[in-house]
């Protein structure tokens, strides 16, 4: 059987979750795996609920959408409330510490100061997505850290490399 991991990144529009999904999928390709990234969105561009989905597999990926996920990231309460049911039994939930810990005792929960770390330690709220990716990777090892860093540097704007490396480092340190 194929080894497949389904990841849902959720939060609000503008938090960079679609970019985070793209980076995670590219990191998986760097590892030599297969990956599909997709998103669902409404007509709004900012605010509102946003989610990005990534499937990583060592073989072909047919159905491209995530149904029940192995890993769920929720940066907002609304997103967590909406998607918590879609997390598989024994799945990994990573939430910002501003989100209430949900009532489920069949999952692993990591409540981490993702948004605060981006603001206080890295100094830019917009790198919360990169902090979150590092935390996800530190917990789940879904890609290798080298591949993740390479993927981050490949996607972020020129001149922000140092900032994003710092965001990765702080994210790894959260775990």
């Amino acid at each position: 059987m194929s080894n497949q991991c389904e990841i849902r990144l959720s939060g609000s529009g503008g938090q960079g979750l679609i970019l985070a999904g793209i980076i995670l999928a590219e990191a998986a390709l760097n590892d030599g795996n297969n990956a599909v990234q997709s998103q669902s969105y409404g007509p709004e561009a900012r605010g509102g609920a946003s989610k990005s989905e990534v499937i990583i597999s060592d073989s072909d990926i047919n159905y491209p959408k995530v149904r029940e996920c192995d890993i769920l990231l929720s940066l907002t309460q609304i997103a967590c409330d909406k998607y918590i049911k879609s997390l598989k039994k024994n799945g990994v939930l990573i939430i910002d510490d501003s989100v209430n810990i949900p009532q489920r005792n069949d999952i692993q929960v990591y409540s981490l100061p993702i948004l605060k770390t981006a603001i206080d330690k890295v100094g830019k709220p917009m790198v919360a997505n990169i902090v979150a990716l590092a935390a996800i990777n530190a917990i789940t090892k879904v890609t290798t850290n080298d591949s993740l860093q390479k993927a981050v540097l490949n996607r972020v704007p020129k001149g922000t490399e140092e900032l994003n490396i710092k965001a990765l480092t702080e994210g790894f340190n959260l775990v």
Binding site: I22, A25, E26, L29, N34, A35, V36, Q37, S38, Q39, S40, Y41, G42, P43, I61, N62, Y63, P64, K65, R67
Partner: protein, 379 residues
Amino acid sequence: MKNKKIKLMQGNEACVEGALAAGMKFFAGYPITPSTEIAEISSLRLPRIGGKFIQMEDEIAGMAAVIGGSLAGLKSMTATSGPGFSLKQENLGYAVLAEVPCVVVNVQRGGPSTGLPTMPAQGDIMQAKWGTHGDHPVIALSPSSVRETFDLTVKAFNYAEKYRMPVILLTDEVIGHMREKIEIPDPDEIEIIDRLKPEKGLDEYKPYEIKEGQVAPEMAAYGEGYRFHVTGLIHDETGFPSNDSKVAGDLVNRLMKKIDDNIDDLTLYEEYKLDDADIAVISYGITARSAKSAVDMARAEGLKVGLFRPMIIWPFPEKQIAQLGKRVKNIITAEMNLGQYVLEVERVANKYTNITKCGKANGELITPDEILAKIKEVQ
């Protein structure tokens, strides 16, 4: 081994890459979700290679400009979605009758009307075939992956040039927007077909003269010095209008024969685990991915199920579907609409086998579980 060009790419991006690889030099259109990236990326890329991009005032004008670009000698494409595809129909017919090669991409979204702009559908299957009025030939392709979007866009240009007609690429919101691994082939691995250019001099050229062995007339470009007339009226080989019933009958029949006489060239499909199958699922585009998963799930339970996946959906692969009907006890047609392609499957295979449809039109993909449930129902 050298590092092949492996990338994570969106379907819409792969469509533009395929178009550029095939030689696209002109894009005109009116951006509409979920096809917008095709216009956006074309607007970035075309000027860098000496091509032209025009955003027109609406979809009708976009299609008209594409016809003009092609008549001026450039490989031309437009992309649209939903109500935009409805607006293209009149000029699509013009391109058929005037024999103007071009590619029309329809990234399908939920309908009718403005419908569900950000959600997928496969509801334009019959519209692709019959959307413009009159008897006319249609070539429509439907990719199931990002890589196949690249490949079939190249093919769409090749067929357009070879048969001198518009070719429709039918994708959908999910294929267009999802990102997956793609290995872009080297240019020397890609077959490119160009339209035939006139052999005769300026004075002797007849724009719609067919010579022995040709599937479509030789095509001069406006601006090269040739003077010729192009019209949406029935015309003779000079290009000027005619009301003669023989001319009319001969022309429409000749247009249809482009498809009928070249059906093998215009048949492209994948068979998956069909060899010993009792049940065949017929599915295309994004839904075929769910169908493939469903086949694997059914096989794991010992059910003999296979998949027939047409990549060219029009012309309809009649011969193959009829043979399939004789081989299996059941055919399930899975498509993201309430029953369109299944009508053709029924027409061809109803006398040989049981046919069931599996469809929905609510903006959501058909899941492998839904197809598996249908397999168990008919089994």
